[in-house]
């Protein structure tokens, strides 16, 4: 018996040691796979450059700025990028002809100025002279032509290709002049040209034989160094930048998907900047301000809305839609789902933005009696039931809406579908109510353009159709003078509101936080990137890090 025990003791001991050793061996393996993943991407990495990261010239306040991103970077090709993180890092390297300033107005970037013909269809861009690419070559009209060619080439898969199909012709009138002729749609043209860097001017040296970006050569304030997909992204200062030359030596973005991990990394100083902080944490940080961390809630043009299916009962009935609009408590929704940091509104265009339309919100305050009266008028004195196809993203949102509608006698049976099923049923208009959000709004047409059946996204707003709205939409799209266009869009909002075409509930803020040693950073609410005309990371210094 004793012998037996002793033997089993040794067996256990040996097993334990083996286990510990095998665990120790297993630790480095993630790094190996990460490296392999980096190599398989279509980006050439210059390993040696990484090692010699020491700056060529020492600048006061320089150093390495480290940002924490919540989503992975999907591509460094500005023409095909659509993901949130891509939109944050790409503008550090690439630039377009125009970009949106902090005041929501269009500013010249690579274009110094532009002229528009009286009919709004002929655009002449005068390029800035002496702008250098990262490889030292000067940017000229040929590069603009090359970039437009690439965007319009079907094989590129550029996100702006469909929008740019309205360009009839384009040509270089000289080394610094480009002329574009449009078929129509002058009003929205600048917003499409300046949407992030989706229409960036790239050097043809960037493009490999297969048409993809192999070596990013742009004109931005930072030069691309390396990208390890799913892990980190690096760029360094470009000393010959045409505008404000950066003081930072290097910019690194790490992918920290988990909210808690990202926030902790900021609190420990592992990263200097993060975006997207859970709202409950943001509120906590606001209430107990810290000397080490600066927090800012940015109200960009963004909305979460309730869309009605206009093609089938019960929501094809105006009284029923009004009942819903009266029953929804926007303020409570904001408090419940977003801890009160959102801004209840009647339009996606944030107050203070040029795009904001001065139209009052008739559904600002909840009115449950009105809601019940509307239901009775519509022939549902005892309310009704309907099924909801919920998107997993919006489960919390639906729980609140469900409770609010229930108080008016409307029973929403919520079923949570996966994204693919949700989109399929959505497109088939096989739903009654739909919650969806929209961001990246640089022009009214981005939101209102859905409200006619000719739009490809018409299904998202339930197939709404109103001929007056369609006429006004056409007017707005072709109006190159944005101040005049604004009047048309104000009228559209009045009509949509009268029809309760969609119920705009509230906008979520873009929450950013950074260490207080980051100086000179004043984020721009109209632009999700970290570089914009007159501000951004190229104005930032690190002091006392």
């Amino acid at each position: 018996m004793i012998d037996n025990n002793r033997r089993s003791f040794w067996v256990v001991l040996v097993l334990t040691i083996v286990l510990i050793l095998s665990m120790a061996c297993a630790v480095p393996s993630p790094e190996v796979t990460r490296e392999a993943a980096g190599e398989s991407a279509d980006v050439t990495q210059e390993g040696e450059e990484v090692v010699s990261a020491t700056p060529e010239s020492q600048v006061a306040g320089g150093g390495t700025f480290v940002g924490g991103l919540f989503g992975t970077i999907v591509t460094i090709d500005p023409h095909t990028a659509i993901e949130f993180s891509d939109a944050i890092v790409n503008p550090l390297i690439w630039e377009g002809l125009v970009a949106m300033g902090a005041d929501g107005e269009w500013k010249g970037k690579l274009a110094e100025s532009w002229d528009v013909s009286d009919d709004g269809l002929t655009w002449t861009f005068h390029l800035r002279e002496g702008v250098q690419f990262h490889n030292g070559r000067e940017m000229t009209a040929d590069d603009v032509i090359f970039s437009l060619d690439r965007i319009l080439d079907e094989n590129t898969g550029a996100t702006m290709r469909a929008h740019f199909s309205k360009i009839e012709s384009y040509e270089a009138l000289g080394p610094y002049t480009v002329k574009l002729v449009l078929k129509n749609g002058a009003g929205t043209f600048l917003s499409q040209l300046g949407l992030g860097v989706r229409a960036a001017v790239i050097a043809k040296e960037s493009v490999g034989p297969d048409g993809g970006i192999t070596e990013p050569v742009g004109t931005g304030p930072f030069k691309f160094v390396e990208w390890k997909p799913g892990d980190e992204w690096r760029a360094k200062r470009f000393d010959d930048y045409w505008d404000e030359v950066a003081k930072l030596d290097e910019v690194v973005f790490k992918i920290l998907g988990d909210d808690t991990v990202r926030l902790t990394a900021l609190q420990t100083g592992e990263v200097d900047w993060i975006s997207r902080i859970p709202y409950d944490q943001a509120v906590k940080l606001q209430e107990n301000p810290s000397d080490d961390i600066v927090l800012e809630l940015l109200y960009e043009n963004r909305t979460l809305r309730l869309n009605f299916n206009h093609t089938r009962p019960p929501f094809d009935n105006l009284q029923v839609r009004k009942a819903v609009a009266y029953a929804v408590d926007k303020a409570e929704f904001n408090e419940a789902v977003w801890f009160g940091v959102g801004n209840p509104h009647n339009q996606p265009f944030a107050e203070g933005s040029f795009l904001h339309l001065g139209v009052d919100d008739p559904y600002r305050h909840r009115d449950i009696e009105q809601a019940k009266a509307m239901l009775a008028e519509a022939g549902y004195p005892d309310g009704f039931e309907f099924d909801v196809n919920g998107h997993p993203f919006y489960r919390d949102d639906w729980e609140i809406l469900q409770a609010q509608l229930a108080q008016a006698g409307i029973t929403a049976n919520v079923e949570i579908l996966d994204s693919a099923q949700w989109a399929k049923r959505g497109r088939e208009l096989d739903w009654d109510l739909l919650v969806a959000s929209q961001s990246g709004i640089y022009h009214w047409d981005r939101t209102f353009g859905y409200f006619e059946q000719a739009s490809t996204a018409s299904w998202l707003v339930g197939g709404y159709q109103n001929d007056t709205v369609s006429e006004l939409l056409a007017e707005g799209r072709n109006q190159a003078d944005l101040t005049k266009a604004k009047e048309a869009y104000g009228e559209i909002l009045e009509i949509l509101q009268g029809d309760v075409a969609s119920l705009f509930i509230a906008g979520e803020p873009n929450v950013q936080a950074w260490r207080s040693w980051v100086k000179g950073y004043d984020p721009n609410p109209s632009n999700t990137s970290l570089v914009w005309p007159g501000g951004g990371l190229n104005y930032v210094t690190l002091e006392g890090k």
Partner: protein, 300 residues
């Protein structure tokens, strides 16, 4: 034939004389002796009781949202505090028991009926039928159960019924296998031969004679899989594709509360405890039943 039966009876009676109490009575006595099994039994009874009387026991509507009172700590008004929408956690945990019980019972009964029928018939017929059926069952078993449940839930669509069906389907092969091995060993015994000799139908032999003798492992298995069904339901709900809102499933409470766990641990603590306690209780009951119903125990 009537003569043969009367002849057989006295000898059987004689053999059973020392064992005067019925096997169920003996099981009941053993349950009282085993502390752990008794604990499991009590927990299970409480679970059933709570689920059954939820509307009486719960002080508040589990879907009642009150933002002003979000994240309250346990108090007299809210014995377990409130969640991120200010809903009463105590009421939600109580109503959650209903869902867990409903899902557990329905899926196990469904799996039991189908699994036992498939397994028993396959084993009784034997030959290529047995082979074909059991290979299909093996194929189903080869999938990780949660993966299969996920897949089935997507195919069946989003509702609590499809959650129950999905859980039931992944459990059919386990019942089929268990009953098959019992039937295989029972099939060759004399009493079956006797029944066959007096000309009883196959179905009657199978369900009247063989099945009652193979019942013990099924009871144990049912309890274990019942506990398991609660976990799978909670997992699916945690992943956001289980019980649809506003039904307060324990899994949903966990997944909703997870993001606030650091500051308000009570939001996840109580639904977590509810899951672990009921699963532990039912498993202990299952273990106890296995010991009690094990025929070998009788002779010890």
């Amino acid at each position: 034939m009537a003569v043969a039966r009367t002849d057989a009876n006295p000898s059987i009676r004689q053999f059973q004389v020392p064992e005067s109490r019925s096997p169920w009575r003996r099981a009941w006595r053993d349950l009282w002796r085993s502390k752990l099994a008794l604990f499991g039994f009590v927990v299970t009874i409480i679970l059933v009781f709570v689920a059954f009387f939820a509307p009486i026991l719960a002080p508040l509507d589990p879907a009642n949202i009150n933002i002003a009172e979000r994240f309250s700590l346990p108090s007299a008004e809210h014995p377990l505090g409130t969640d991120n929408f200010g809903r009463d956690i105590w009421s939600r945990v109580i109503y959650g028991a209903r869902i867990s019980l409903q899902v557990g019972v329905t899926s196990v009964i469904f799996a039991l009926i189908l699994g036992v029928s498939i397994g028993a018939i396959a084993a009784y017929i034997g030959g290529w039928v047995d082979n074909a059926v059991m290979r299909i069952m093996d194929a189903v078993l080869a999938f990780p159960s949660i993966m299969l449940a996920l897949l089935l839930r997507f195919v069946l669509g989003p509702s609590i019924t499809s959650v129950m069906l999905a859980i039931a389907i992944i459990r059919i092969p386990i019942f089929a296998r268990t009953i098959r091995s019992s039937v295989l060993s029972e099939r060759e015994k004399e009493y079956v031969e006797a029944a066959r000799a007096i000309g009883q139908t196959h179905l009657r032999i199978l369900f009247r004679h063989i099945l009652p003798n193979a019942l013990a492992p099924l009871i144990v298995l049912s309890t274990v899989l019942f506990a398991n069904a609660i976990i799978i339901e909670a997992s699916l709900s945690f992943l956001g594709i289980g019980t649809p809102p506003p039904k307060p499933s324990w899994g949903i409470m966990l997944s909703d509360g997870r993001q606030f766990m650091q500051d308000y641990p009570h939001v996840v603590l109580f639904p977590g405890l509810a899951i672990s306690l009921s699963v532990l209780g039912i498993n202990l009951l299952g273990d106890g039943l296995r010991d009690i119903l094990d025929p070998r125990e009788v002779y010890q």
